[in-house]
Amino acid sequence: MSEAIENARTFLRPSKKLPTVWCGGCGLGILMSAMTRALARLGVEKNDVAVVSGIGCTGRLPTYVDFNTLHTTHGRGLAFATGVKLARPKLTVIAAMGDGDALAIGGNHFIHACRRNIDMTAIVANNHIYGMTGGQYSPTTPHGKRGTTAPYGNVEHDFDVAALAAGAGATFVARSSVYHAQELDRLIEKAVLHKGFSVVEAVSNCYTSYGRLNKHASPVDMLRWMKENSVPVGKAETMEPWELEGKFTRGVIVERELPEFIEAYDDLAERLTTSPSAVERVKSILKSFDETAERLNAKAE
């Protein structure tokens, strides 16, 4: 057994009874182990990592991993994670969310986190449905696919998670699937190393709530679907749009550099407190406040 896998094991909470609460065949366990493998390879200390989640099946993930963890409310994982990162910039902060959690009820936080470029990682487990509450269609349920609230097929259209993150300004966006477990852990590793806001979309399978409603024979059949319907980013560039229809791309989709939020903030603070002209300006503003207060007090008397 490789050392990384051995170390990854130590990231599971010894007090937690395994197997997990997740259904047999669920992709979330594969995602969790990819995440712990990535962190093990990075050689992080448990105490230097914070994993934050919202609600839903993916929201259960922090229960099992032995880091600093915060299990919050539906859709707010990223908002809480932002607070954690601001208060403890040295922590490696990861927010683990499902598609409903990240993109419906938490969609607002998601796009603004992408735009803000704060140095943390959002992992979106995209299984195309609300699993825990019983299969309601979500923002990533493909058009025409079934959910318990769309028994004859979804009339809405789905988000392309990676494209949404890229459009909202994330500086690192990657996608893989739980079938491609090793690729997934390499991408998570890259995302964590990236300076700025990184998003990893992990296409996952929810046989219980999605597969059964959409004519997948088994969880394995869903994994096979991921294998057969995904294309590495590089290869996709050589293909025609019609060839890519119904398929998703895998790999690093966006990787660019922009000033990171906390660093930019610290820079600003530094400039304001050290540059003589800025200090003078602040002083003169404070002075004008004092003068106004004096004038008003004199008037009142």
Binding site: I55, H71, H74, I105, Y130, T133, Y137, P151
Partner: protein
């Protein structure tokens, strides 16, 4: 003319909604409300209702869409639980302030944190001052009956306020029982067609809802909301009576069980009332004068009726399935205390907090409360009047 069905509480609410066939329903999944909307979504998908069902991206949006639809003159409904209701809160308050007759089943569940999906009343009790009428249900039959009545209560011109029909998560929402449902036509005729008095789409009478209202008129508008609440009890009573004439099941603001001559009384809401009734039967068989006051309409709070109903009691136990942190007792307890103040009652009053986060309440617990009351009767309110049932300490 009635049908006997086996339904869960969630199914019962969905069945009532199918018959009401509102114009617009907006929803977002949350346990334990979820099955309610599943069922209703099936009715929509199968073409059994004409309702527009929109599945939005959060409860905040669900209530917003419902408010928008109601302001445009549509009969509008939604449903939720716990944190969903908490997320709606901003718009919950606005719905009442706009005087929109929205009806919302709320499946009671404990508020986070820590996360808990089981029953208590912290969600709806947290909304008790938002200006919504609140009807609590004892079982699936009452869920069905209350949802139908809520439409007429909300839309009554002297009221025009939104109504929450609440029922206990899992205990009622997920257990099946036999109930009597009406045929579709009588229900539809009884609720009638919704003819809103004020609507955004009345182009001959342009309207606005909720514009800036500062020191000039905000206060007067709040006063009007208070007036609407003051008018509501009479309407709830009247509609409960009319519903009884149609269904054979009349409803009132409160219900007394063996309360007429009771010396020891328990006050409760929701499914616990059923448990209390069985305990009371046992105690009566042994000669104890025990009784129950069930509060169906918690908002508006029927103060005078409650004071009159508890007049003869020597000792009263108020059961609260939620906490009002820092307050002198649970929310129900405080209101009962206020209702008794000045009513001439000298009964000893004890508050029992119970069942938080779905902790079970058994017959033994209610026996325990009655046994306590025996010692309180004639002694007045004890010093330790805030107690717990089923708590490990």
């Amino acid at each position: 003319m009635s049908r006997r069905l086996i339904l869960t509480g969630n199914d019962a609410a969905a069945e009532a909604m199918r018959q009401i066939d509102p114009d617009v329903v907006a929803a977002f999944p949350i346990t334990p409300q979820t099955e309610l909307m599943h069922k209703f979504a099936e009715h929509v998908a199968d073409g059994e209702v004409k309702a527009e069902l929109v599945l939005v991206e959060s409860e905040h949006s669900a209530m917003s869409a419902t408010v928008g639809a109601a302001a445009a003159g549509a009969r509008s409904m939604t449903a939720t639980s716990a944190n969903g209701l908490a997320l709606m809160w901003e718009i919950v308050y606005i719905a009442a302030s706009y005087r929109l007759p929205i009806v919302m089943p709320v499946v009671n569940r404990a508020l986070s944190g820590p996360i808990n999906i089981h029953c208590d009343h912290s969600d709806t009790m947290g909304c008790r001052d938002t200006g919504w009428i609140q009807l609590y249900s004892e079982n699936a039959q009452e869920v069905y009956d209350n949802v139908i009545q809520a439409i007429r209560i909300a839309e009554s011109p002297e009221v025009l306020l939104p109504v929450m029909v609440t029922f206990d998560g899992f205990i009622i929402s997920h257990t099946a029982e036999v109930l009597e449902a009406l045929e579709d036509d009588p229900v539809r005729n009884w609720i009638g067609e919704y003819k809103p008095k004020y609507t955004l789409l009345d182009t001959d009478n342009p309207m606005t809802f909720g514009p800036l209202d500062l020191q000039d008129y905000y206060f007067e508008h709040k006063r009007q909301q208070m007036e609407a609440m003051r008018a509501a009890p009479a309407t709830v009573k009247k509609i409960g009576k009319l519903y009884g004439e149609m269904s054979g099941r009349p409803y009132d603001l409160i219900e007394g069980y063996q309360l007429e001559d009771a010396e020891l009384a328990v006050v409760a809401l929701g499914s616990t009332c059923g448990t209390a009734k069985v305990v009371i039967d046992e105690l009566r068989a042994k000669g104890t004068k025990a009784g129950l006051l069930k509060i169906r309409c918690f908002r508006p709070f029927p103060e005078a009726e409650i004071a009159a109903a508890l007049k003869g009691a020597k000792a009263i136990a108020v059961l609260d399935r939620s906490v009002s942190f820092g307050a002198p007792g649970g929310p129900v307890h405080k209101e009962i205390k206020a209702a008794l103040f000045g009513s001439g009652s000298s009964a000893g009053l004890v508050n029992y907090i119970y069942g938080l986060g779905g902790r079970d309440i058994s017959m033994e617990h209610i026996h325990e409360a009655f046994a306590d009351l025996e010692t309180v009767a004639g002694e007045g309110t004890p010093a330790d009047a805030i107690r717990f049932l089923g708590l490990r300490e």
